[in-house]
């Protein structure tokens, strides 16, 4: 059985959750079915690779220089590269199974091309976000009001993007769904995302939930209270400092804390790229960070390397994920659980699904700084809560296990889909 795993980036060059999951799946599958039988193709923007060309980075690992030409309908900029280099590779590798983890920066036409070149292969698409449903960078958040969006419709999408007529949104959905007809099985790391896509029109019978997987980590013990009895709980924020990650909600909540709570908490911000954010957001967050750092409740730790994550996470008592969009299965939650840390999160979407309120973490009302302030007060008032919740954490599945789930899905699909019928509905 030959397998090709395809992703929109290579972890050598990019550290997003989806590419890490895809790459680790590739590695783990290699362990299980034989290294030579599994290949990995990742899109790259390396200037050293000619546009459209596919190069071999190391045995079984390929880089493909591709670009998106049309983010509205997710169309490729280099169609010729699909029908030449990509088709050649597909024919040369001849996979029985193609696991596509993302086609952004490549073009949705690869699905059609895979089906055209390999009519009998099993094509599995793992969906990591809502880009196919929502033109707003897949956030499913309204463009102007930043309100959460519950479902796509031609009229609602047109209201978010007045320059695009409802009919254009029809062409977007039609074009994307027409390409999804080439796909045999859909996978999502969260039930929440699966439901959203079933609402949008995908076939529930061909849609499964498989997590991204985590490296197996040693669960670090909690820090002890200091000898003088003073006990300050540390809450860690890990992630990009973008508007949708909710850093503003977190900092504002700190402003609402009562003095008693204030002395019992320290918020560590491990985040990068604030300087790349929109100016008004950057200035607001920068100002709040400065003020709160001066008062001693916030410590801005800045960017971190992936290898530092486990040690840094082991130093905090809680991990907070205050995102103001739905999320799918945030890697930071999986990582926190792998380290045995309870998670405070917005009570929506993939976060609410992955973190059980009052069991292995705490929910607060999304975007609500007052509610978050109350949640923080509750934590400060109850120093034993962290340990009680930590005990309920279920260790996330490792890559081996995830690869096993993918293989099981593929085997069952290959059995049931004899003389495969492709279709979205």
């Amino acid at each position: 059985m030959r397998i090709l795993v395809l992703a929109h980036a290579h972890p050598d060059l990019s550290v997003g959750g989806a590419e890490i999951a895809a790459y680790n799946l590739f590695r783990a599958l290699g362990e299980q079915v034989g290294r030579g039988a599994v290949s990995f193709l990742a899109r790259t923007d390396l200037a050293s690779v000619q546009l459209g060309a596919i190069v071999e980075r190391r045995p079984g690992e390929y880089l493909w220089r591709q670009e998106m030409g049309d983010w509205f309908r997710l169309r490729t900029a280099v169609p010729a590269a699909l029908t030449r280099g990509f088709r050649d590779l597909l024919e040369r590798l001849g996979p029985d199974i193609v696991l596509v983890h993302h086609f952004s920066h490549i073009g949705i036409e690869i699905l059609h091309e895979i089906r055209r070149t390999l009519p009998d292969c099993l094509l599995v698409l793992t969906i990591h976000e809502y880009m196919m449903i929502c033109n707003h960078q897949g956030q499913m958040v309204k463009t102007v009001s930043r309100q959460l969006c519950h479902r796509e419709s031609l009229q609602d999408c047109h209201r978010c993007f007045p320059d695009h007529s409802p009919e254009r949104f029809w062409t977007r959905k039609h074009f994307i769904q027409k390409h999804l007809e080439a796909v045999d099985r859909f996978v999502s790391p969260s039930r929440f995302l699966r439901e959203r896509f079933i609402d949008w029109g995908l076939d529930p019978d061909r849609f499964e939930v498989i997590e991204n997987g985590q490296p197996l980590a040693e669960r670090a013990p909690f820090r002890r209270a200091r000898a003088d009895g003073a006990f300050v709980q540390r809450i860690g924020f890990f992630g990009q400092l973008t508007p949708y990650k909710g850093i503003e909600v977190l900092l504002m909540a700190l402003g609402h804390l009562d003095p008693a709570t204030r002395g019992k908490l320290l918020i560590e911000i491990h985040g990068a790229n604030l300087d790349q954010q929109p100016p008004d957001f950057r200035d607001r967050v920068g100002e709040m960070l400065t003020t709160l750092s001066r008062s001693g409740i916030v410590r801005f730790a800045g960017a971190y390397d992936r290898v530092e994550l486990v040690p840094k996470m082991s130093q905090v008592d809680w991990v907070i994920v205050p995102s103001t969009w739905w999320e799918n299965s945030p890697m930071v939650i999986q990582e926190a659980f792998a380290c045995g840390r309870p998670v405070i999160c917005s009570g929506i979407g993939g976060m609410a699904e992955k973190v059980r309120d009052g069991v292995d973490g705490l929910h607060f009302d999304v975007g609500n700084a007052f509610d978050l302030a109350e949640t923080l007060a509750r934590i400060a008032a109850d120093p034993t809560l962290r340990e009680r919740l930590a005990r309920n954490i279920v260790e996330p599945a490792g890559y081996e296990e995830i690869a096993g789930q993918y293989l099981a899905l593929c085997r069952s699909a290959l059995e049931t889909d004899q003389g495969a019928v492709h279709g979205t509905r």
């Binding site: 169609p79 010729a80 029908t83 059609h112 055209r116 009919e167 254009r168 029809w170 074009f175 390409h179």
Partner: protein, 780 residues
Amino acid sequence: MRPLAPHILGDPTSRYAGSVDETEPDAGIGGWVSRLDDGSGPIRVALMVADRVLAESRVVASNRGERGGSPADARSVFRFSWASLLPDALGVLRAAADDEPVSVLIADSGEELRWAVRRPSAGALARLLGSRPEGLAGTPPRSALPAGGRPAHDHGTGVSFPEIAGELSAPSEAPSQGGEDRSTGREPPFHVVAAGHGSQPSLALGIDRVVTVAGAILMAGWVIGASDLCFSDGDAADVPPDELVWRPRSDISRGFGVPDERIHGFVAIWKAKPATGPVMITSEGSPELRAGVMLPTRSPPDAVRSLLLEQSDRLAIFIRMFGGDPAWMAAVMAVIGDAPPQQQHARGFIEQGRAIPGLGGLVVGWSVSLPDWQVIAVDEGGATCPLSEAPRWNRLDVRTSLDPEFGPLCLNAGFAARLAGRGAVGSRLHLVAAGPETAFVIARAHWTAAPLEPGSLAKWVFSLPVPSCDRRLFIERHVGGLLDALVGRKAAALRAVPAGIHAFGGSVVDPLCTLVIPLFGSTVFMPNQCLELAADPFVRSRVEVLYVVDDPSLVDEAVSEARRQEELTGLPLTVVDAKVNRGFSGANNLGSRHARAPFLLFLNSDVVPLAPGWVETMMAACRSAPDVGAVGARLLYPEGGVQHDGLAFAWDAALGAHLNTHPGSGLLPKAALSRATERVAVTGACLLMRKTVFDAVGGFDEEFLIGDFEDSDLCLKVRASGRRILCTEDVDLVHLERQSFGGIGSPQFRQGVVYYNLYKHERRWGEQIARSVDRRPAGR
């Protein structure tokens, strides 16, 4: 000899002195004479050529005593105007050699003194005589009055008097005494004296002119001593004029020294020539008065001009009678004057006058007039439009400024009026106000060039604020003709433009059907359409797909999209580059000319099939019976409702036309019948026909503007050929309707285009639709 003798020309021994001061070839001869021994008496002078008298005049000294009373200083000023010469003089001049000089002769004492002067040629003189405003038979030349002259004549009328024509002109010398043969008539000008002395008649009839314009006859003359006139033809049948206008003729009364009240001028007008021979004029009250007048078959423009000039205070009569005739109006416009400065009868202004050479043009402006006055737009060529027949709209600015003068009459001052005719750019354009009698020009402008491209012309004309109640009038009477002609010209020119062909992916061998898909404004739907077409095995193997790029700015985009789609999907595609924008019909017809298959399927670029098999379904319907002429398809909106399930016609009483309607549009589709069923018409957004039938009925009509109604027009042509129209329901097609037309022009413009096409469609098909379809109100 007197030392102070004036400069004497001629014989120095003569008792006379004199000088010719002016010899204007276009005007005449003027000068003075003086009797050296006696400055007080009148002097007879004559204008001569080759011993023949052209005119005579008696002049008296007018500046007696000016230089201390010396008789020698008493000068008698004379002036002979060429225009005042008798027509008999023309014969004299014609008989004389061209270089024969004209001389002034002092005849009182029998002595002749001659001064040779330049004179106009006989031809020039003839033109001058033909157009003179005065100087009619028996009329004293007004210009003979010396400046500041005072009455010194024994008749007490003027400084000089004319010798009547009879005394100068041998052929007409003997005044008629009646009893003329009915078959004979004389050519004006002439006059007959029935009673009284020749220079002071008591019963006389004069005919100054008879002219013909555009078949009508105008006769101007005067009568002394009679108060009625009868006109009859050669068979003694009465031929009363259509209009007989009486008017004073002080010129005649002055010339003859007859009291004003005994003289009546008249103008008799026949709209058509009243008799083949001469017209006899008699008077019931004075049977001895009788004259026959020859009617001309042609009149030189100058003669008409002269007549109208004489009647320049009565021009409204001619406008009323002949206003619709360009020849008449051109003649009137040549003599009409400007409005008197203080007149308060009518006001107006021409804001735009844009013409298309050979077709006429459209005048836009405002006018206000008293109820018994009308305002007419007229151009130099005589094309007219009474503004009472033009669409009018309210002009707040005019209303505000003219309300003190015209009150509520200044409502709806705005107008737009079509003038037919030549529409010569640069030529004059007027607004004429015509009252009960007089008429004058109240506004002047010139034709400027209108756009020659029909769409651009439509943009202009449909930007005018024509009220909806006048819309049909405006389109059918004022702008429709211009647009029709331009649309027709353009369509003919475009058909001659060759197309470019770009084929991708080879060609389908022996195709059964050709999809003709016009592209305009956007290629945005191509990827979706191609994706579905490529997924249809029948289309891939047996259908030729032609994209007709009807938008030259889109060719690159369309060609690269076609290349891309062929590359990604393997669907062979052909792009037909129309090179110019030909409109919906032109693009589809162009596609049909490049189609290789026996069936044509016209498909809008925004119609996307959602399942394969639809082309076969439609073809099967078309083949189901020999009398099937065309097959349409049920189309759905992207949200799922019916967009099209056959067209119907509904009578709209407000518009006075049948509208295309989409029955069931917007409702959820009923269960689809598997068999195609008959419709009155179907949309051209998805329409299948045999190529032979399409060609036989002439294809899509290219004379609609931009795009509308071509499909129902085509269906009605198919029906008129005895064939039926079917519609298939069991197909799955989405129509992202009107996406390709949204960008063209303002809503007002688009609406104007729709009405233009609507009325064209109605003229063509209204009766047939009314016979076959209920006149139901527009279904809404």
